[in-house]
Symmetry: C2
Subunit: 182 residues, 2 copies
DNA sequence: CGATTGTTTGATGAAAGTCAAGTACCGTGG
DNA sequence: CCACGGTACTTGACTTTCATCAAACAATCG
């Protein structure tokens, strides 16, 4: 656990290594993953401005991360104008992905949600050079319950959809390794 | 229409009067409402930093709005430090509501989604003094298809749920006026 | 006044959830 | 080395929720 729900933090964590997830927990203990965090990601851009992390941030693999003091970042923004530009890029990206997720959950089928989740992750890993070969292959540490919590589905249904994807030759997925065949 | 999908804007619109919605349109022409915009709301905080409005912004009632040039806002941020604080508040609020919507769409039933949508709107209108009386009553210009597009449901199902809410004495809703009974 | 557009209701269907049983795959400690 | 308990995954039977389709009606607007 990198941040707990209602903790106050005077520091902003940034992922250096490994995968993590930002998670909302409901009263009935079901969960919704709001975003996956990959190396280079700021845990949440809202932490740049307020100390309250509104949701749980949990490691999926082993994670290395590093924290920056908010007070220092705040002064740095004013002394170093390029920094604000950088933060605004991060925040635009964060909001864009949140909006995409809203559309996925509101208007797409289980198959579409899972396919898009996988493809989005692959795209982000490609940018980071964390993939191999052609057709593209990569380490894929997510459990099916992570996929379920990110797509608003049940683990059982995720299993069925992934089996279907395998049967129709779209992906190869086993032993924490994923290949995109089509 | 206040902003079109892929237009560039050197100005940031702020709603002065009336209701609007920020909408993502899919290839099959179904829609997902990302947020409702009420008087005082910035259309999108990402517009403060990039000219591309990623989604359609449509008026629901007649709307008055006013625009601020981005270039002027940008310099104002540096000459007037309190302004950055204000923008960050708006950003945090915007992201918080987006995250809540993700949870609603991912993990809640139709009844819950609609109830929460209505209650969130009532809460925001209360803050603005746009309600009357006790039990609280207010102008409610949304069509059932707006509710459907915001909750990821069909208009038909929204009608059924609202009828059920009426039958069980939770709300009174007719002629664009809503009363929260329970 | 007819023509849209919005709402209600019921019958039927499809998508995803729930439940349950079985298998595979660890890591631990004897 | 093996037995064990726990977690993850798979599969099938059955249920629930919501979508789809259709028809009727109400409201709104030139």
């Amino acid at each position: 656990i990198i941040c707990r729900d209602e903790d106050l933090h005077d520091a902003v964590p940034v992922i250096c290594d490994g995968w993590a997830a930002s998670i909302a927990t409901l009263s009935d203990s079901s969960r919704q993953i709001l975003s996956f965090l990959l190396p280079g990601d700021i845990v949440s851009t809202t932490l740049l401005f307020e100390p309250r992390g509104r949701h749980l941030v949990e490691a999926i693999t082993d994670v290395r991360y590093r924290v920056f003091r908010r007070s220092e970042l705040k002064t740095a923004v004013f002394t170093h104008p390029g920094l604000l530009e950088k933060f605004s890029k991060a925040w635009i990206e964060e909001k864009y992905r949140a909006d995409q997720l809203i559309v996925d959950l509101g208007r797409r089928t289980a198959d579409e949600r899972i396919a898009r989740l996988v493809l989005n992750l692959v795209e982000r890993l490609l940018k980071r050079g964390m993939t191999r070969g052609e057709p593209v292959e990569l380490d894929f540490p997510l459990r099916q319950r992570h996929i379920a919590d990110a797509t608003g589905l049940t683990p059982v249904h995720v299993s069925k959809v992934l089996s279907e994807f395998r049967r129709s030759g779209l992906i190869k997925l086993s032993e924490r390794s994923l290949t995109i065949l089509d």
